[in-house]
Symmetry: C2
């Protein structure tokens, strides 16, 4: 499934859904990505000050690919 990600809330939902679909706890996901459980919790709840690199780490760990769709190039 693909989801448009206009804001941090949407990303949080996608991440939470994917994590649960794979039967992972926040603790496990944090461990897999070298982050902390607090970060995962806040991220899933739409924190928009989350750092890009860590967000991409989490997405990769969950097997979620990000696409940028530009009408310009």
């Amino acid at each position: 499934m693909d989801h448009r990600i206009p804001d941090a809330d949407d990303l949080g939902h996608v991440i939470r859904d994917a994590r649960k679909a794979q039967g992972l706890t926040q603790d496990q996901l944090a461990g897999m990505t070298g982050t902390g459980r607090r970060f995962i919790s806040e991220l899933e709840n739409g924190k928009d000050t989350a750092q890009l690199g860590k967000v991409l780490l989490v997405l990769a760990a969950l097997g979620i690919a990000l696409y940028a769709l530009s009408k310009w190039k």
Copy 2:
């Protein structure tokens, strides 16, 4: 055109390409998004500590949509 975004470098390229395709300077893009020119410069050069919310602002300002492609849901 759509681009996969595995890391911050790729995002930077997409943003730079879109900005140039629209004939904008970093200064103008910073003004449009309430950020600073330094942020745009670093973002285009792949800074992975950029904050998610600001990144999404920049993408929106450039008319770039983000999609998350998950095989799980």
